[in-house]
């Protein structure tokens, strides 16, 4: 494949929940590759409580 024919598109999503990057490769108007990588920011937290007496 002549890689010069590929059009590369990239993007980033950054919010309170995640930082995501994605990359696409298009060949003559057709999507031939798309990968995405998500960096999780928001963890799961459980709060344990005990009664006072």
């Amino acid at each position: 494949m002549d890689e010069s024919l590929l059009e590369k598109r990239e993007g980033t999503i950054d919010n309170d929940n995640e930082t995501t990057t994605w990359v696409e490769y298009w060949l003559e108007g057709e999507l031939v590759h798309r990968s995405a990588h998500v960096q999780l920011k928001r963890a799961v937290v459980s709060f344990g409580e005990t009664a006072k007496f």
Binding site: E18, L31, S35, H37, V38, L40
Partner: protein, 149 residues
């Protein structure tokens, strides 16, 4: 509540009642897996198990049930918070997932009920002959993936 008890919860040290005790030995760590779900699914705090969750993604290179999650670091505790984070990114390689997905269910694959642990959501994605990965936050009391405070 003691700090050590919070760590014990991660390791299933205590069994207060016979109901629901998993049929495995405490000397063996369970296997946890991560499955992906379409944007049409409605996973959340009421999700109880992998088997009860809909709708899992499907596509080339993706095996139903998802991939194994590596917990190479033992649960730890700092001040009042216990925490645990997978020790490696969760990666789905060489997959094509054409239906957009926006959730990952972490569940216990050893337990016969495939009990749910947590649901993580993100902006809806698709993958075409590529890789989808979830990178873990720093494993500490502030950003660890699973925390009991």
């Amino acid at each position: 509540m003691t700090n050590s008890f919070k760590v014990d919860l991660f390791n299933a040290v205590h069994a207060f009642n016979a109901t629901g005790i998993p049929a495995h030995t405490a000397a063996t760590a369970d296997v946890f897996k991560a499955a992906l779900y379409t944007a049409a699914s409605s996973l959340g705090t009421t999700t109880t198990s992998y088997t009860g969750a809909v709708t899992e993604v499907s596509g080339t290179g993706y095996t139903a049930g998802g991939v194994t999650v590596t917990f190479g670091t033992a649960p730890a505790n700092t001040t009042t918070t216990s925490y645990l984070t997978p020790s490696a990114s969760i990666t789905y390689t060489n997959v094509t997932l054409s239906t957009s997905f926006d959730a990952m269910l972490l569940y216990n694959n050893t337990n016969s009920g495939k009990n749910a642990v947590a649901v993580f959501t993100f902006t809806a994605q698709t993958v075409t002959a590529g890789t989808f990965s979830l990178t873990m936050p720093t494993n500490d009391a502030t950003t660890g993936l699973l925390r009991i405070a």
